[in-house]
C-alpha cells in the first residue's frame, strides 16, 4: 500500500515538475556542443602531448644526449641521468589526460586501461617522432633566440639547448695537433685537448664534422676522454637537413 503511494508520488512529483517547467530537456544542440568540446579537448591535449614528445627528441638532439648510446654503457648511463625529466613527466601527464578524455568513448572504456593507455601512448609517441622529422622546432628555437617568439620563447630558450655536464656537442672548426677547436650552440669556440688516454672512436674526423665529446671543461678548454663523430643524417630521430652545430649567432647570420 505504502509502496503504491510512494510510486505514485515519485511519478507525480517528476511529472508535475516537468509540467510546471521546473525541469526542462536539454536541446540536441547542447549535446552536440558538449561532444564537440570533448573531442576538441581530446584533440587539443593529444596535440600538446605530440608536440611535447617531439620537442623532447629535439631537445635531446640539441644537447647531444640522443647520441650518447654510441659511447656504450657509460654513454647510456649519462643519457639516463641527463634525460629531461620535467618534460617527460609533462608528456606523461598529457598522455594520462588524453586517456581521461578518451575514456568517455565506449571503444576506450570497454578495454582494460593497460591496453587503451598503451595504444594512446604509442600513437602519441609515433606522431611525436614524425613531427620531429619536420624543421618546426628548429625554426621556433631560432625565432625564440631572436626574441620573435613571445609566447613560448622562454620555454625554447630554457629547454631548447640543454646543457649536460661533461658532455659537449659541437661542430669542428679546426683540427690541431693537440685536438680540435669546436663551436657549440652555447659557445663560439672551445678547445678540445686529446691525449693518449682519449678514446677517439672515429679516425677520420674533418672540419665541419659534428662531434660529441665526453670530458672535463676548464675555462674554454675541454680535456676529452671520449670523442665520437656524429652523423646526424643517419640518426633515426634526426630530421633531414638538420643544421650543423654552430653557435646561435652564426646560425642566425
Amino acid at each position: 500500500m505504502n509502496d503504491q503511494k510512494n510510486k505514485k508520488s515519485i511519478s507525480e512529483s517528476v511529472l508535475s515538475k516537468i509540467k510546471e517547467g521546473k525541469v526542462k530537456m536539454h536541446s540536441r544542440i547542447y549535446f552536440i556542443f558538449r561532444m564537440i568540446l570533448l573531442v576538441l579537448g581530446l584533440v587539443g591535449i593529444s596535440a600538446a602531448a605530440i608536440f611535447l614528445v617531439s620537442f623532447i627528441f629535439f631537445s635531446m638532439r640539441q644537447g647531444g644526449s640522443l647520441f650518447l648510446p654510441q659511447f656504450g654503457f657509460s654513454g647510456i648511463k649519462i643519457l639516463f641521468l641527463s634525460l629531461p625529466w620535467i618534460l617527460i613527466f609533462g608528456a606523461v601527464a598529457l598522455i594520462v589526460t588524453s586517456e581521461f578524455f578518451a575514456k568517455h568513448f565506449s571503444f576506450v572504456y570497454r578495454s582494460p586501461i593497460l591496453y587503451s593507455f598503451s595504444a594512446i601512448a604509442l600513437v602519441i609517441i609515433l606522431m611525436g617522432v614524425i613531427l620531429n622529422f619536420t624543421p618546426i622546432h628548429m625554426n621556433l628555437f631560432l625565432s625564440a633566440q631572436e626574441g620573435k617568439l613571445p609566447f613560448a620563447g622562454g620555454f625554447y630558450r630554457e629547454f631548447g639547448a640543454p646543457k649536460i655536464s661533461d658532455v659537449f656537442y659541437g661542430s669542428v672548426l679546426e683540427i690541431k695537433d693537440s685536438g680540435f677547436i669546436i663551436s657549440t650552440l652555447r659557445e663560439k669556440e672551445l678547445e678540445v685537448i686529446t691525449d693518449k688516454n682519449t678514446r677517439i672512436l672515429n679516425k677520420n674526423i674533418n672540419e665541419n664534422d659534428n662531434i660529441i665529446i665526453l670530458g672535463k671543461k676548464n675555462g674554454q678548454t675541454i680535456h676529452a676522454f671520449n670523442v665520437k663523430k656524429v652523423d646526424e643524417k643517419k640518426g633515426f630521430f634526426t630530421p633531414p637537413n638538420f643544421p650543423k652545430r654552430q653557435p646561435i649567432d652564426r646560425v642566425l647570420k
Binding site: 510512494n6 510510486k7 508520488s9 515519485i10 511519478s11 512529483s13 517528476v14 511529472l15 515538475k17 516537468i18 525541469v23 526542462k24 530537456m25 536539454h26 536541446s27 540536441r28 547542447y30 549535446f31 575514456k103 565506449s106 572504456y109 570497454r110 578495454s111 582494460p112 586501461i113 593497460l114 591496453y115
Partner: protein, 189 residues
C-alpha cells in the same frame, strides 16, 4: 495510456518523447520505477534516500533524453544514469563508496564468453543465496552481480553502465559469485 503503448519498445517511446510527446515520459517512469527502485535498494536502505535518488534519476533522464541514441538499447542508458546517481548519493551519505577505480580495470583478463545457458543454471543456484548474502558482499562485486542476475543486463551492457572494461565485468561477476557462495556456506554452518 492505452494498450497500444504497452506494446511499444522503450526506444520507440523515447523517439516520440524526443520529438515533443512529453506526456509519454509517464510510460517510461512506469516501466522503470520498479526496476530502478529494486536496483537502488541494493545499495541504499533508507526509504527517503531511495525516493530522492529515484526522483533525481528520472529528472536526469528527462533532462538528457535528447542525448539518447534511439538506435541503441534504452535500459543500459537509464541504468548508467542510475549508477551515477547512486555513486553521488553514497558519496553524500558517506557510505561505503561504489569503487570507480580498481586494479581489475587496468589489466586484461581471460574470461569465458557470456553464456545464456550457464546464466540460467547459475540463476537457479544463485537466486536463493542472493537475497541472503548480497548485503555482505563488497559493493564492487555487488553491483555487477545485481545488474547481471537481477536486472538481466549483459556483460557489454554492464560495461556501458559502469564504464569499465567488459573483461572486468566478467571477472567481478565470477569473483562476486564465489564470494557469495563462501558467505552462504558460512551462514549455513
Amino acid at each position: 495510456m492505452g494498450q497500444e503503448w504497452q506494446d511499444k519498445k522503450d526506444e520507440e517511446i523515447v523517439k516520440l518523447i524526443q520529438s515533443g510527446r512529453v506526456e509519454l515520459f509517464k510510460l517510461l517512469i512506469k516501466r522503470y520505477e520498479g526496476k530502478i527502485g529494486r536496483y537502488a535498494r541494493k545499495f541504499l536502505y533508507n526509504r527517503d534516500d531511495i525516493n530522492d535518488v529515484l526522483q533525481e534519476i528520472f529528472i536526469k533522464t528527462y533532462i538528457n533524453i535528447k542525448s539518447f541514441d534511439t538506435a541503441r538499447k534504452f535500459s543500459p542508458w537509464i541504468y548508467r544514469i542510475a549508477h551515477n546517481e547512486l555513486v553521488n548519493a553514497l558519496k553524500k551519505n558517506k557510505k561505503k563508496l561504489l569503487p570507480l577505480l580498481g586494479l581489475d580495470i587496468f589489466l586484461p583478463y581471460n574470461i569465458s564468453r557470456e553464456d545464456s545457458f550457464n546464466k540460467e543454471n547459475d540463476l537457479r543456484d544463485i537466486k536463493k543465496i542472493i537475497n541472503r548474502c548480497l548485503d555482505q558482499l563488497e559493493p564492487k562485486y555487488r553491483e555487477p552481480i545485481v545488474l547481471y542476475y537481477v536486472e538481466g543486463q549483459s556483460y557489454k551492457e554492464i560495461a556501458d553502465i559502469m564504464q569499465i572494461p567488459v573483461s572486468t565485468v566478467g571477472v567481478r561477476i565470477k569473483r562476486g559469485k564465489q564470494a557469495m557462495k563462501d558467505i552462504y556456506k558460512k551462514l549455513n554452518k
